[in-house]
């Protein structure tokens, strides 16, 4: 029986086919999936922030929350599961509100996506598809068996990448 694993804000989970990975209501956060077609294993993180250096000192870091620590954790865990040729897909990083006075915090979605691209590059993992930016929230679901990522928005409906 195929299961749908739900990933909350700042969490990450790993599974194998025929299961699916799902995260709902992505705004400025980015949902990133690393997967290996051959071993049919995949992991998804719901990333909130670009860089773990912002975390308070001596605080236990929630690894799924930051782009850098999330990618490291996913790569390590998937390699342990026998994955040999990782690829990535991602979606999210929207700007939910348009203020009259823009500040750096408003660009958080864009910065999240950029930090993930950088971390993937450092691990030499190809980003094969993405749907980032814009002003809409997204719910995403990844089918491990087919590597298809479906993306639902309130205004546009569902599409697949």
């Amino acid at each position: 029986m195929a299961e749908v694993l739900k990933i909350g804000i700042a969490e990450w989970k790993q599974t194998t086919a025929p299961n699916r990975l799902r995260t709902a209501g992505l705004g400025s956060c980015v949902g990133v999936i690393l997967f290996d077609v051959r071993t049919q294993v995949a992991a998804m993180a719901h990333v909130m922030l670009p860089d773990s250096n912002i975390a308070r000192k001596h605080q236990t870091i929630e690894v799924g929350k930051y782009a850098d620590t999330a990618i490291d954790a996913l790569v390590k865990s998937l390699n342990q599961a026998g994955a040999s040729r990782l690829q990535a897909k991602m979606a999210g990083g929207a700007q939910m509100f348009q203020f009259k006075y823009e500040n750096e915090a408003m660009r958080i979605g864009e910065r999240n996506a950029e930090a993930i691209r950088k971390a993937l590059k450092a691990h030499r993992i190809p980003l094969v598809a993405e749907d980032c930016g814009g002003h809409n929230g997204r719910t995403i679901e990844f089918d491990v068996a087919t590597s298809v990522l479906s993306i639902r928005t309130v205004s546009v409906g569902t599409k697949e990448i």
Partner: protein, 199 residues
């Protein structure tokens, strides 16, 4: 975790802020608006979308940024249907957000403006400190996508979200809106100091 004392303090703050917001909304709509007792929580970020009806709940929202000694954000969330009903009764013609009608859109912004402004003014009066506010922004989307942006902006370095939540009911309808106040953690200390008279 918040202590029981901190919870009571913040709940009282929520009651005062949302009491004024409810009065403002009631005057605007010429309808009774009831609020339930506010709740103050500090809990894992993952729980917050569930509090406001689930991450995929389609909501209309208004966000106001506060600056000064007390900083943070006030977020107003209503189910889209309820927000459309409010706007319809205000402008006198049927309104939906999908139709992108300018008059209705600005009426919704005005509802948010008046409610969040009343909340912020009440906080400022009660805490006896000036609070700077910007022009509010609106978004019509999934509740999860909206609250996660707010938590990320206000409390980026924390693993738990600190918020004060009040439920609004218009015309005794069961369907409810939320007004959330998310202070920065620095402001929490300021609030306590001011209310305890050490400031």
């Amino acid at each position: 975790m918040l202590s029981e004392f901190e919870q009571d303090l913040l709940k009282e703050l929520g009651n005062i802020g949302s009491g004024h917001a409810a009065t403002a909304l009631s005057t605007l709509l010429a309808k009774p608006v009831n609020i339930t007792v506010s709740s103050a929580e500090m809990e894992p970020i993952t729980y917050l979308p569930e509090r406001v009806g689930g991450p995929e709940r389609h909501v209309a929202s208004v966000l106001l940024e506060l600056g000064g000694d007390i900083s943070g954000m006030i977020l107003i969330l209503f189910p889209v249907d309820d927000a459309e009903t409010m706007v319809t009764s205000l402008i006198g013609t049927p309104f939906t957000f999908a139709a992108a009608d300018e008059l209705g859109q600005s009426a919704w912004e005005e509802i948010g403006n008046i409610m969040s402004g009343a909340y912020a003014r009440a906080l400022s009066d009660w805490l006896m400190t000036p609070i700077m506010i910007q022009v509010p922004a609106t978004a019509i989307d999934m509740a999860g996508s909206i609250v996660e942006f707010v938590v990320t902006s206000v409390q980026p370095e924390e693993d738990a979200a600190l918020y004060i939540d009040t439920t609004f009911m218009i015309d005794d309808k069961v369907s409810a809106g939320h007004v959330l106040f998310l202070p920065t953690h620095g402001s929490l200390e300021q609030i306590e100091r001011r209310l305890l008279g050490h400031g």
